[in-house]
């Protein structure tokens, strides 16, 4: 297959796609396929590992190798795979429940170990497959099947959690902005380490409109912030608003009103502290005066990937001691003979 470049369609399988009509998952699938075509990815060297959830059906729709595993464990399975197969391109597809509730531990350990795999975290702030219970990202107070009087749990901020867990690539995209999503898929693929890409995904059946304010024509300009490396933080209609740092406090200013581009906070993908601050831009963006929700690559940092370190250690052992001699091993140091 190598050599002849594949089209997006070539990554489709013969299985019927079984998400609900209007589900944000479709758009994400499409962008992955499109990005893969652009990247010239090889089917046979690509593997998708997922857990359980609506989103975790993903591997069935990608004509690559794949595994639809068990709930929450995709990160653990992918770690073992990548540990023995540095040559493969490994993708994890997971939901907010799959990766942050039951699979939370595997996710944070994956991030600190930094296997070179890509995590697509479909965050719809709900459990889709089990029909509408709250997830660790559902906002407090939300009424769901399992919280008829409102959620009591303070939600996780997935990107803040990831940074706390030593992540080396942290980004956010939106099902409704396919171009941007595709670009981040490509960036994630480039990164040599664990890439965490959180994708806001609308679940029209159980949590419709969770991200409407971020996608609706009327509100999105003021409620979203599109990060570009080396560029100032601007947003709003015609990019007339900007964000600057007032001491350590981010402040919204108007560019039509005394402030210029030069005053603004310039995005730096390599700055962990600023990335941390950006993950905390999390007020309800529908309320006036609140910070817009950032999208894009918050933070990236190259650190040796786990499988590289592992392979190096193995190689080192070979270099120092040569290919293991089974007879010598079995025999050990102290033997005797009976005649």
């Amino acid at each position: 297959m190598t050599g002849s470049k594949l089209r997006a369609k070539d990554f489709e399988t013969d299985q019927d796609v079984r998400w609900c009509p209007g589900c944000g998952d479709y758009a994400i699938l499409k962008q992955v396929q499109t990005a893969f075509a652009e990247l010239g990815m090889e089917k046979e060297n690509t593997v998708f590992i997922s857990g359980i959830g609506c989103s975790s059906r993903f591997p069935y729709y990608m004509d690559t190798y794949g595994m639809h595993s068990i709930h929450g464990r995709a990160a653990a399975i992918a770690s073992g795979l990548k540990a023995v197969r540095k040559d493969l391109n490994v993708w994890i597809v997971t939901g907010d429940g799959d990766s942050l509730s039951i699979g939370g531990n595997h996710l944070i350990h994956l991030l600190r170990r930094n296997f070179d795999v890509n995590v697509l975290l479909f965050n719809n702030e709900i459990y889709g497959l089990t029909k509408g219970q709250y997830s660790p990202t559902t906002p407090e107070g939300t009424v769901t099947k399992s919280s008829p009087y409102g959620v009591l749990d303070h939600p996780f901020n997935p990107l803040a959690l990831a940074l706390g867990a030593e992540a080396t690539f942290v980004a956010r995209a939106l099902d409704r902005d396919p171009r941007h999503l595709k670009d981040l898929i490509i960036r994630a693929n480039e990164h040599k380490g664990t890439s965490l890409l959180e994708i806001y995904q609308n679940c029209p059946v159980f949590n419709d409109g969770a991200f409407t304010v971020l996608t609706d024509k009327d509100s999105k300009q003021d409620s979203t912030l599109w990060l570009k490396n080396g560029e100032p933080l601007v947003f709003g209609e015609n990019n007339t608003k900007g964000i600057l740092l007032d001491g350590f406090k981010p402040k919204i200013v108007s560019l039509e009103d005394g402030y210029s581009m030069d005053d603004l906070w310039v995005h730096d993908e390599s700055d962990p502290l600023k990335a941390h601050m950006l993950t905390r831009f999390f007020g309800d963006p529908s309320l006036e005066g609140n910070l817009p929700r950032p999208f894009g690559l918050f933070y990236v940092n190259e650190r040796e990937s786990y499988e590289t370190a592992m392979d190096n250690q193995v190689q080192e052992a070979y270099n120092q001691r040569g290919e293991g001699d089974l007879d010598a091993l079995i025999q050990g140091k102290s033997t005797w003979e009976i005649n």
């Binding site: 013969d14 046979e44 595994m67 540990a83 197969r85 070979y318």
Partner: protein, 613 residues
């Protein structure tokens, strides 16, 4: 002064002292020397449950039991003939394990007031007559050692640390042993500290000469060479053998090994051992928990490596869900359970066979897997190779059962040469489907085994998963009849393994007769000794022992039917008996011991005689 030399068939010595007293080393040296001489040997260390309990307390006592003989010995012995105690706590903890009339060698310095208090003795047991039934030898080992090294210039701490060499030297004298191998050991061990070579050798010889010159010891013993199969031998512990077996099997299969594990006693030593051998293509991975460990191993198997994971009972419980996934995926996977006392955290440092049911049934749904158990420390090597052979050749997860007793026990091993090891055939896909034809990942051969298609192989892309799959295609299927078919196919695949394993065989005794003692796992040695004794006493008793617990060998029912009574001794509450009754609707007489300890031969002999009568 010439001392008389008595001949003995076999002798059991128990070395006991504080964790810091070096009893493990002493025991290992004595063992190696005896094995080298040509005795058969069997050993078992007994570590304290605490990491390092306060010095001088009973909780801090470390023991090493060793049996050597001019006959084959299969267990480290029931009660010991000789008990060496370095302090009062060691006596307290172990006196019940000494035969009536046995020899106690007590280090008198270890019975000072402080030690007596720490071990909660009100009066000195060396003096109050409580040891009247034993042959007590009091030796001030500490002082004698210090005297020997008075001019060494060593620090007191280093001097005291070598007192175990005195013990060793003295016992070498007592059992007419050669010092050579220990001398060599000391020279190698302290190669970089010549002053310690000198001091240790000095104390070793002092101990030896002490026997010669001291008035108190009238008797020396001799244990002749055993008639053992010819060959090259080494001593091996169960966990070590398991680790080597994994490496060997992977090599025989031409696979890389991925060992995903989370530390737990008594399984961790396999991880420690394997992590030393990266130049055999072994990758070890300490996962964040047991679930991650098995999942990583599954991922590795998906990637074409030999995925292995190990734990002990509580950790195996955690792996149940993922093991079910592996059943669905039909990929090779070895799961090792080094069993310990349960339930729950139970008795982590003690042995038990109580996870058999969990091995067979500890998963949701119909999820049968082969189960294989090792019988002796060295048998862990070949049993685990066999488990891996089945896992790879039959594309199925396999549970390998060991236990704390095997894991830490040691025995001489007539080790094989690499070239003689069994080959393992890997059912990797060799051909892509013809142009235009879809690849069928769940197509099966006559063994009902599917082929192994590995990422990177062109044209074989497929998706696996835990939802029920359609026959042949492996696509998700909710079809009722397909589900029943697949459940039965998976079960039948495991059943058919019975066609590829050896029959159950009678290990000793007649092929049919009065009593069969039928065991599995680590009870092998005790049963062997007990049946041997019964046969020698003229009883019609036989032994058979399972390696394969699922599926059972095909002749199992036939063998059972050839005896009037079948006794099944187990270190659990009749688990195998339950399975046998259910599979064969045949009864067996259970004999349970649930004390975190192996059977003693005498317990078994008594039970056999009771049934025989």
């Amino acid at each position: 002064m010439e001392k008389e030399i008595l001949e003995k068939k076999d002798v059991t010595i128990l070395f006991a002292g504080d964790s810091g007293d070096g009893m493990q080393l002493t025991g290992n040296q004595f063992t190696f020397t005896s094995a080298l001489f040509g005795n058969d040997v069997s050993t078992f260390p007994n570590f304290p449950a605490e990491i390092r309990a306060p010095q001088g307390t009973v909780a801090g006592v470390s023991g090493f039991q060793l049996r050597f003989g001019s006959v084959e010995v299969f267990t480290p012995g029931d009660d010991s003939d000789v008990l060496v105690v370095m302090n009062a706590a060691a006596l307290k903890a172990n006196i019940s394990k000494l035969k009536r009339g046995g020899v106690v060698i007590a280090n008198t310095s270890g019975f000072d007031n402080k030690n007596l208090k720490l071990s909660h003795y009100e009066v000195n047991p060396l003096e109050d007559g409580s040891l009247d039934d034993y042959e007590l030898h009091e030796v001030d080992i500490t002082s004698l050692t210090r005297e020997a090294l008075v001019d060494s210039g060593l620090a007191r701490k280093d001097v005291d640390r070598s007192k175990n060499m005195f013990v060793l030297g003295f016992l070498y004298w007592m059992y007419s042993r050669d010092l050579a191998s220990t001398i060599q050991f000391i020279e190698e061990k302290f190669a970089k500290k010549p002053e310690l070579i000198e001091s240790n050798l000095k104390v070793l010889k002092t101990g030896y000469h002490y026997g010669d010159t001291s008035e108190t010891f009238g008797t020396r013993y001799q244990v002749k060479k055993a008639k053992l199969p010819k060959g090259k031998y080494r001593s091996i512990m169960g966990n070590q053998a398991a680790a080597y077996g994994i490496i060997a099997a992977a090599k025989q299969a031409g696979l890389k090994t991925f060992y995903g594990s989370y530390p737990i006693t008594p399984a961790s030593d396999i991880l420690h051992e394997l992590s030393k051998h990266k130049n055999f293509g072994v990758k070890t991975y300490q996962a964040e928990d047991e679930i991650a460990a098995i999942c990583a191993a599954i991922g590795a198997s998906f990637g074409g490596a030999l995925g292995v994971t190990a734990s002990s009972g509580p950790g195996i419980a955690l792996k149940g869900e993922a093991l079910g996934l592996a059943v669905m995926l039909e990929l090779p996977l070895l799961v090792i359970n080094v069993q310990r006392g349960g339930p729950s955290t139970g008795l982590p440092t003690k042995t038990e066979q109580s996870d058999l049911m969990q091995a067979l049934y500890g998963r949701n749904g119909e999820a049968p897997i082969p189960v294989i158990a090792a019988r002796t420390p060295s048998d862990c090597f070949s049993s685990i190779m066999e488990a891996i052979r089945i896992s790879v050749e039959h594309m199925t997860p396999v549970m390998f059962l060991s236990d704390g007793y095997l894991a830490n026990g040691a025995e001489p091993w007539a080790y094989p040469e690499a070239k003689d090891l069994p080959k393992i055939t890997v059912p990797k896909v060799t051909q892509k489907p013809a142009e235009g034809e879809a690849y069928l990942p769940y197509l099966r051969d006559e063994k009902l085994v599917r082929e192994w298609a590995i990422p990177g192989m062109e044209g074989l892309m497929h998706r696996l998963g835990g939802l029920e799959k359609e026959d042949r295609t492996g696509n998700i299927s909710y079809d009722p009849e397909n589900h029943e078919k697949m459940v039965r196919l998976r079960a039948e695949k495991v059943e058919r393994i019975a066609d590829f394993i050896p029959d159950l065989k009678i290990e000793q005794g007649p092929e049919k007769g009065k009593v069969l003692v039928l065991g599995w796992g680590s009870t092998y040695g005790s049963i062997r000794m007990a049946v041997d004794q019964c046969i020698k006493e003229g009883l019609e008793v036989s032994q058979a022992h399972f390696r394969y617990l699922n599926p059972f060998p095909k002749n199992t029912a036939e063998i059972m039917a050839s005896f009037d009574h079948v006794i099944i001794p187990e270190i659990n509450d009749k688990q195998l008996v339950h399975v046998i009754r259910s599979k064969f609707l045949m009864d067996a007489i259970p004999f349970s011991k649930i004390q975190g300890l192996p059977f003693t031969s005498s317990e078994l002999v008594a039970k056999i005689k009771e049934i025989y009568a």
